[in-house]
């Protein structure tokens, strides 16, 4: 090719390449204070995402803070000690990671309330190992939870479960989630407080 034609040809090639490169996949930042504030708003599947979990938790925590049990805690002479146990996943989705995050959020709210003293979850896990909780299902056993909570000096423990009604039709799938949150008295295993919140997700045409 003659040399004088190379520069325009190069420019043309560049002009063609730049838009092509711009059309490829790219990472973006989202959420409040970013260029994509609504990135977390859209549902991408029927699984529970962070927004769903935050919404569900907000309902449950608001109800908890407005409850008679919480009022009793506020008026207690000494800050009652509360342990937090895993939320049982009874759904059709692999959301254990998300539920762990949710547990962290519940812990944060309880700690920051200043009304109750919260036992570190690392300490609980250590105790569980000490008493021989080996297989995962035992973590959700009420007797184990009460035993370990007592050993770490808790008067109450917070736990919960997410249940589901999952239905599939030829042209639609709908998943109805219910998050139950419970507070149990360690000494008696009596249910001191319970609340629930609901969220449905679907894939529709």
């Amino acid at each position: 090719m003659p040399t004088r034609l190379r520069a325009p040809a190069l420019l043309t090639a560049l002009a063609l390449t730049i838009p092509a490169a711009a059309c490829g996949p790219k990472a973006v930042r989202g959420g409040p204070g970013t260029e994509n504030p609504n990135l977390d708003q859209g549902a991408m599947s029927t699984t529970l995402d962070r927004k769903d979990l935050q919404d569900l938790m907000k309902v449950n925590m608001d109800q908890l803070f407005a409850s008679n049990w919480w009022a009793t805690m506020r008026s207690a002479p000494a800050r009652p000690v509360v342990a937090i146990w895993p939320i049982k996943n009874e759904t059709t989705e692999h959301i254990d990671g998300q539920l762990d995050t949710l547990l962290g959020d519940i812990e944060t709210q309880l700690v920051n309330s200043g009304v109750v003293a919260v036992v570190s979850r690392e300490r609980q896990a250590e105790m569980a190992r000490e008493v021989g909780v080996q297989q995962n299902q035992q973590i959700y056993d009420g007797a184990y939870a009460a035993q370990i909570s007592k050993q770490i000096g808790a008067q109450y423990y917070v736990t919960g479960k997410v249940g589901v009604v999952d239905e599939y039709m030829g042209d639609e799938r709908r998943v109805q989630y219910t998050l139950y949150m419970q507070v149990l008295e360690v000494e008696t295993s009596l249910l001191a407080y319970q609340t629930k919140s609901e969220r449905s997700k679907a894939i529709v045409r």
Partner: protein
């Protein structure tokens, strides 16, 4: 038209048809992976399927989801499962399931139009019942092999959603004894005996499992849940449930101190390949599902129909032999997915052939239109019309690729064995056997008191 131009046109049409037949279909693109698996080279199969997916390694997930990507991921998941990479296999199955679910629900206007004009392969892939039910069953097995009962329980519930859908809307295809058996095992290990019995009742709908007698009798005494199959099984007595070959027991055995669950997957299900049959024979097979007037085909240059038919995978193994610490134990067939896939396809074959003939009619009508337009040419109108018709019909035939999409790496036959053992160290030998000889595997397992271990062997050949 003189005979020479006609011969040239016919030759051109033949070339177009040959080109169409040479065009690679899904089963062609995944052949290298199957060839490697057939040779016992699972790593080679993994590389081949990654190449077909446009990926460098199995740690990568696709970023672009095309019509075959979900299916390709199912193929890779099965190879990874056979290699014992259960976490990666599980991740692939979960990702593929979500994509395939979206395709199942999505509207496919362009695909439906393409189906009538070009090929069934234009449509989005709809997972058939056997594949859909097997997906969650194998993911359950992945989680069990990892010792993750919570993960397995999630897959058990997902399996139930799909099985319930088929039970309600397509009861003929509400199979899945393998999934029901594994789900029963998961809930049994979790201590939810009522739920376990309900799943075992489902599994027993398809065949009897001698090794389930003792666990069912034990759980039934406590949970009380029963169905007609459980009642029938209990009425027959507890037999030799779970014991070594030749052993017997008069009463339900107490819960074993430890237990080994062995799953042997041998062979691969039949897969689809392009098949050519004369139009006359095809009309006979698909008559009830043909749309359009078949007489127009008399003018067509193409006298054969190409459609996807099932081909055997050439399985080397079809059964197995198991020994633990030198003692032989029976393996029970839990499902024959090869037979189920063939049965599902036999039901669909007339529809598929009917659709292929309907497409031929559409093309022949279009060719007739081109011929009529060509005949209006002032010079040599007959030749121009013939060539125009041949070009139109040939181009449309070239776009008609038989839809050979299916989960080709799905094992054909699945066997299980439940072995009650003393806690501790055990040596397991498992031989896959069949017309291709035998492939032996030896494993050592350590089972804690009150615990269990799952050993999976998947040959993919």
């Amino acid at each position: 038209m003189t005979s020479a131009p006609r011969r040239r046109a016919a030759a051109a049409a033949t070339l177009l048809l040959a080109g169409a037949l040479a065009c690679a279909t899904y089963s062609d693109r995944t052949q290298a992976a199957r060839d490697a698996a057939q040779a016992g080279n699972l790593e080679g199969g993994e590389r081949a399927i990654n190449k077909a997916l446009g990926l460098h390694k199995s740690e990568e997930l696709p970023t672009k989801w095309k019509s075959e990507t979900g299916l390709g991921l199912l193929e890779r998941a099965m190879i990874l499962h056979a290699l014992g990479h259960y976490k990666l296999s599980s991740r692939d199955l979960t990702a593929a399931e979500k994509q395939l679910e979206l395709l199942d629900i999505a509207r496919d206007g362009a695909g439906t139009l393409g189906k009538y004009v070009f090929s069934d392969a234009s449509t989005k892939y709809k997972t058939p019942p056997t594949e859909k039910l097997a997906l969650n069953a194998y993911n359950m097995l992945n989680y069990l092999a990892l010792g993750d009962l919570d993960g397995a329980k999630v897959e058990a519930r997902r399996f139930t959603v799909i099985r319930r859908y088929y039970a309600d809307h397509d009861p003929e295809n509400a199979h899945g004894a393998f999934g029901s058996y594994l789900a029963g095992y998961v809930f049994e290990r979790l201590g939810d005996e009522g739920e376990a019995l309900r799943y075992y009742e489902e599994a027993l709908q398809e065949r009897t499992f001698d090794q389930l007698r003792a666990p069912i009798a034990r759980m039934h005494a406590r949970a009380g849940v029963e169905g007609p199959r459980i009642r029938a099984l209990l009425a027959e007595g507890t037999g030799s449930a779970g014991g070594p070959e030749g052993g017997s027991a008069a009463a339900p055995a107490p819960a074993p101190e430890a237990e080994l669950l062995v799953v042997l997957n041998v062979g691969r299900v039949p897969y689809k390949v392009p098949k050519r049959i004369p139009i006359g024979a095809a009309v006979g097979l698909g008559a009830a599902y043909i749309t359009g007037d078949t007489t127009v085909l008399e003018h067509s240059l193409f006298k054969v129909v190409v459609y996807p038919d099932l081909a055997e995978s050439g399985d080397l193994f079809d059964h197995g032999r198991l020994a633990v610490d030198g003692q032989s134990y029976p393996l029970e067939l839990v499902t024959d997915m090869g037979v189920e896939i063939a049965r599902e396809y036999d039901e669909l074959r007339p529809k598929i052939i009917g659709a292929a003939i309907s497409r031929l009619i559409v093309r022949a009508v279009a060719a007739e239109g081109a011929r009529a337009a060509g005949k209006q040419s002032k010079n040599n109108s007959g030749l121009v019309g013939f060539l125009a018709a041949a070009a139109v019909e040939g181009a449309m035939v070239a776009a008609d690729k038989p839809d050979t999409r299916s989960w080709t790496m799905l094992p054909a036959r699945v066997y299980v064995a439940r072995i009650p053992l003393a806690p501790g160290h055990h040596v397991v030998t498992l031989d896959a056997a069949g017309p291709g000889g035998r492939e032996g595997r030896k494993a050592e397992v350590d089972i804690p008191a009150g615990g269990f271990a799952v050993l999976d062997v998947t040959t993919l050949r």
